[in-house]
């Protein structure tokens, strides 16, 4: 299982390198190098199998239910790419050690580099195309990090952003293409897809799929018209450019063309699209390369041109063209990586990359000059260097193809033109930089770089030469298996000899060399013309314009919907939801009424329903009178609980009833700090609009519930009903679901409740609000806060209420009740004490700080769940079936402990909310604490008119300015 390791070693090693770098710059380099060698070591043992024409597939289960596994495959194509990625990666690691300055963070650099290396290896070794896509996106992200490595430079940030947006868009298109491809093939495994070429090409969705997949490949490989991100990405450190733009990132696109070649190629759409784009890119890239003054700019456009060449070869679609394409991938990777590294050395030594300043460097750095000249000659396609071989094959294929099709002269002429331009810009690179007089005003005097900085260039240039001179003894076996992997059959016969005799391809090579020399030496008028044409064909400007338009559109749309008013935004949101819902009702649609017969209502139900509807409308109509609307809301809650009673949900009725009480107390307490009336909204048009929205929402909800209720019903509840007694030992299935079957959900819910309580505690801290002094009619509130009769009565009620709570709690597992309801009943009982007797009286008799109750509740619930884990069962497995404790009543032992946790959290959170809101009443009156003696003993008398009769307790309590003062300090 060493294949997944090839990918995972760099990916998992990246953070390690970042960590190691704290011990020194060299440590990071060594660590990165060792990881690269390890990955290579994991790859080597698989080599013999590949050379026996086997495809190695190894996988680690990931999400088997979705058919998604970490599946990797290794065939000749994948191996060729993996070796290129790893070997050039190792050379770049060595090179970067000398390139990066003292100020650059090496750990970050190498971590990004390894991340990128691992993602790239993932692309070339993935067996599943969705996995491939994931690695594809990871290369986009990690190359973004690498290009923007010098974060302080705005050109680096912009270049990285452009690369990310273009390749990211392409990735999105590719996702669509891959989904189509996977559905067509019935599998997302490459092994299956590659076998089904004929079926896929005949599929009606072939063309859209092809376009989407090609969009991904073209954006990644910087094909026209998406080529413009690549020159912008030259703001990256040169080792990054050498890596990304020679062997890796941009090669991912052509890799994809090669990978899917047996499936997608061989149709008109394929050849038109791929050839057309490749041809345009080949010529345009070569043209711009000639006129760039920036050394890396020249190399960037040359890269674009060579990628176009490879794309064109795959577009031609013959097996021999595919051989040439794969061969040129290898050759381009070697000479372009060495050229970028040489450019980096020159930049490093001269302090600039402008070819108008850099001249005559052959005298200052003869050794580097020789290396760079060899690589440049290879780029030009001069015999005895590796670039010549694949370019010759390309000319041969172009001429061959022209014999049969209408493209004939276009292809031949363009190929010759690109050849001429390639020779011209290579000559420019050689002549301008290393000869052509003396350097002009260089920031520093150039000299040869450090010994080991040259080594990577030497290695690559040696490969260029060896492959160029003796192809049959060096590259031939790798090329053979790679072509085998590309075509998925035996390769056609081809010859790697340098000299094939005198044929048209040789003539074209000769024309290119001679023409290139002519163009270069007669370049002055061409440069002048190019300067005049500058700005035409500027795809980057189009991109920027599009980007600005998109941003402007987004801004306009946002301003249209969001005018800064939450009220309006909410209306927009509800209308959008209504529109989405209406799509289901607009014909043609399923009938709204389903086939299930409906029940006949009885008189009591009709009465309750009518009352409920009327009260709901009343609440909306009189909402301006806030206190009254609150009373109406209370009535509404009680009526809702009657609905639950009717339809066999006693637990819900009990919960609704007790929640209603605490909700009303809460709102009453809060209302003390809010205006008593809601001002009338002056805009009648808006009220009408809102009325219509509400009408739509209500109608929609009604239709939806009607449609649901009249349709057949298949529930998973049968399992719960069947197993409730047997497995969880409880007859009340609702409670058993809460504390056992779905106990984990309940744990989440009480956690939310606890957090809400704590959040409110934090909100109320230090909150001061002005409060009312008199009632709505202008009468001052009664000073008699805690009338003795009520206080005494409520104290008597407390033990009774608590007893009820205990009763409800204990019977919960078998009869309606349980922790939630018992908790709410307890909270109501205690809050009543606060209201009737005052905070200080109550605090003297029970703990003030409620946080421990909440914490303890969560802890109890968690420990109950974890106990079953300790005993080897899943979290929260009921103890009734599994734990055999020595005492008898063990069916209560675990479920009720969990319910106790629920109980504690509910009591704690509810009381926390209400008591702290109540405490605020006192706090808001701090400056007015004038009445001595009021602290502990309510003073009767002060015969004021009673407060609003409906809620004496709640309304009376806040009017006590001084009575709550003494208890404020400990709680604040």
């Amino acid at each position: 299982m060493s294949l997944p390791l090839v990918v995972l070693i760099p990916l998992l090693g990246a953070p390690l390198v970042a960590w190691v770098s704290r011990f020194g710059r060299l440590h990071a380099t060594w660590m990165a190098g060792v990881l690269g060698v390890l990955a290579l070591g994991a790859l080597i043992p698989l080599k013999p199998a590949v050379f026996h024409a086997e495809t190695v597939v190894q996988q680690i289960p990931w999400m088997p239910a979705l058919g998604l596994n970490l599946a990797f495959r290794l065939d000749g194509l994948g191996m060729l790419f993996a070796i290129l990625i790893l070997v050039i990666g190792l050379l770049v690691i060595l090179y970067a050690r000398y390139y990066l300055g003292e100020m650059d963070c090496t750990g970050r650099f190498y971590a990004y580099l390894l991340l990128f290396m691992g993602s790239m290896l993932g692309i070339v070794l993935a067996e599943n195309i969705l996995l491939l896509l994931m690695f594809w996106e990871m290369t986009s992200l990690s190359s973004f990090l690498l290009i923007s490595y010098w974060q302080h430079r705005s050109d680096a940030r912009n270049g990285a952003r452009m690369a990310l947006s273009i390749t990211g868009l392409g990735g999105l298109a590719m996702l669509g293409g891959f989904l189509l491809l996977g559905e067509m093939a019935g599998s997302y495994e490459l092994s299956d897809i590659l076998r089904q070429g004929d079926a896929i090409r005949a599929h009606p969705l072939y063309t859209p799929m092809l376009v989407l997949v090609l969009l991904g490949a073209f954006t990644k490989s910087a094909q026209f018209p998406f080529h413009f991100w690549l020159p912008q990405a030259m703001a990256a450190p040169t080792p990054v450019s050498a890596y990304l733009h020679s062997a890796t990132l941009v090669k991912a696109g052509v890799f994809l063309l090669a990978r899917l070649f047996p499936v997608l190629s061989g149709t008109d759409q394929w050849s038109h699209l791929v050839m057309g784009v490749g041809l345009a890119t080949l010529v345009i890239g070569a043209y711009f390369a000639l006129f760039k003054h920036d050394l890396k700019g020249l190399l960037a456009y040359s890269t674009i041109s060579h990628l176009g060449l490879i794309t064109l070869l795959f577009g031609i679609g013959t097996p021999l063209a595919a051989v040439a394409g794969v061969f040129h991938i290898i050759n381009h990777a070697t000479f372009k990586a060495s050229l970028f590294m040489a450019a980096g050395i020159i930049d490093h030594e001269c302090g600039t990359r402008d070819m108008r300043l850099i001249n005559g460097l052959a005298r200052y750095m003869p050794y580097t000059a020789t290396l760079a000249i060899v690589a440049a000659l290879s780029m030009a396609g001069v015999p005895l260097f590796n670039g010549f071989l694949s370019k010759e094959m390309f000319f041969h294929e172009a001429l061959n193809f022209s014999k049969y099709t209408a493209w004939d002269w276009v292809l031949t002429v363009s190929a010759a033109l690109a050849g001429v331009l390639a020779v011209a810009y290579s000559l420019r690179f050689i002549h301008d930089v290393f000869f052509n007089g003396e350097p002009v005003n260089l920031p520093r005097t150039p000299h040869e770089p450090a010994r080991w900085m040259r080594v990577p260039v030497e290695v690559l240039v040696a490969i260029c030469l060896l492959v160029g001179i003796a192809p049959a003894y060096t590259v031939a076996p790798f090329l053979y298996v790679a072509v085998e992997g590309t075509l998925q059959t035996n390769p056609p016969s081809y010859s790697l000899a340098i000299w094939h005799g005198f044929n048209p391809a040789v003539v074209m090579s000769a024309v290119a060399l001679a023409g290139g020399a002519l163009v270069y030496f007669g370049r002055r008028p061409l440069f002048a013309r190019a300067a005049r044409w500058h700005g035409l064909l500027d795809a980057a400007a189009v991109y920027k314009w599009l980007l600005q338009r998109a941003l402007a559109l987004a801004g306009a749309l946002t301003r249209l919907l969001d005018t800064g008013s939450l009220q309006r935004l909410l209306a927009v949101l509800i209308v959008a939801a209504l529109a989405a819902g209406a799509a289901g009702i607009i014909p043609p649609h399923l009938p709204i009424t389903g086939p299930v017969p409906i029940g006949v209502p009885d008189l009591a139900s009709v009465l309750v329903a009518v009352a409920l509807v009327l009260v709901a409308f009343a609440a909306a109509l009189i909402h301006q009178r806030r206190l009254t609307s609150l009373v109406v809301l209370g009535a509404l809650g009680l009526l809702v609980s009657l609905v639950y009673v009717k339809f066999s949900a006693p637990d819900l009725a009990l919960t609704q009833l007790s929640v209603e009480v605490v909700t009303i107390v809460l709102l009453l307490l809060a209302m003390y700090f809010l205006p008593r009336r809601t001002p009338v909204e002056t805009d009648p048009g808006r009220r009408l609009r809102h009325f219509l929205i509400a009408l739509g929402a209500g109608g929609g909800a009604g239709i939806l519930s009607w449609a649901v209720m009249t349709r057949p019903h298949a529930s998973i509840s049968k399992y719960f009903l069947d197993n409730s007694v047997a497995e969880a030992g409880g007859a009340n299935v609702v409670n058993v679901i809460l504390v056992d079957f779905r106990g984990f959900d309940t744990l989440g819910e009480i956690t939310v409740l606890a957090l809400a309580g704590l959040g409110i505690f934090a909100l109320l801290k230090d909150l001061r609000l002005p409060a009312h002094r008199e009632d709505i009619a202008g009468r001052p509130f009664d000073w008699d806060l805690h009338p003795p009769i009520m206080a005494t009565l409520v104290r008597l009620l407390l033990p009774l209420a608590l007893l009820v709570a205990v009763f409800i709690f204990l019977r919960g597992h078998n009869l309606p009740g349980g922790g939630f309801i018992a908790g709410l009943v307890t909270a109501v009982a205690l809050v009543t004490q606060y209201l009737a007797n005052g905070v200080d009286w109550t605090h003297a008799r029970m703990p003030r700080n409620l946080h421990p109750a909440i914490g303890l509740g969560l802890l109890v619930a968690l420990v109950t769940g974890a106990t079953s884990m300790l005993l080897g069962y899943p979290f929260l497995t009921s103890a009734f079936t599994h734990v055999h404790w020595p005492f008898a009543d063990f069916e209560l032992a675990s479920a009720i402990a969990f319910d106790l946790g629920v109980y504690l959290v509910v009591v704690g959170a509810t009381l926390l909310i209400l008591v702290h809101l109540g405490l605020m009443h006192g706090a808001s009156h701090l400056p007015d604490a004038v009445r001595p003696g009021a602290a502990s003993q309510p003073v009767p008398g002060a015969d004021r008119a009673p407060v609003s009769a409906s809620m004496p307790k709640a309304a009376a309590q806040p009017a006590s300015p001084a009575s709550t003062n003494p208890i404020l300090e400990p709680t604040d």
Binding site: L612, H690, H713, N732, V733
Partner: protein, 115 residues
């Protein structure tokens, strides 16, 4: 029976939506409470309506109501209380910070109030 409940859900939703669209925090909180009633009833209705057959296992029962939506709604009721409490506290905080209980913080609309 089903029509009655659908009507109840419709009027609770309609009134709730109208209230949450108001410009002041208190009616918005009222509207949220109404909406939570409606949502809870709708969730409950997905288990269909059963009369006189609570989901408590006994030998004499002829059938059972669907217990799953009930369990969902039970916690939903309690969480809705937590949410109402949180929202009303936010409203108080907003009033303290902005000096108004208008949802968009419009101070000039504030008039005719006790404090």
């Amino acid at each position: 029976m089903e029509a009655l409940l659908a009507g109840i859900i419709a009027s609770l939703t309609g009134c709730g939506v109208y209230l949450v669209l108001r410009a002041y925090t208190f009616p918005v909180v009222l509207g949220l409470t109404l909406l939570s009633y409606a949502v809870n009833l709708f969730l409950f209705a997905t288990g269909r309506l059963t009369v006189g057959q609570p989901a408590v296992i006994s030998a004499s029962a002829s059938g059972y109501a669907d217990p799953l939506p009930q369990a969902l709604v039970l916690t939903a009721i309690v969480i809705a209380f937590g949410m109402t409490a949180f929202v009303i506290m936010l409203a108080l905080k907003a009033r303290a910070e902005l000096g108004t209980d208008h949802v968009d913080g419009h101070r000039e609309d504030e008039r005719g109030q006790g404090a």
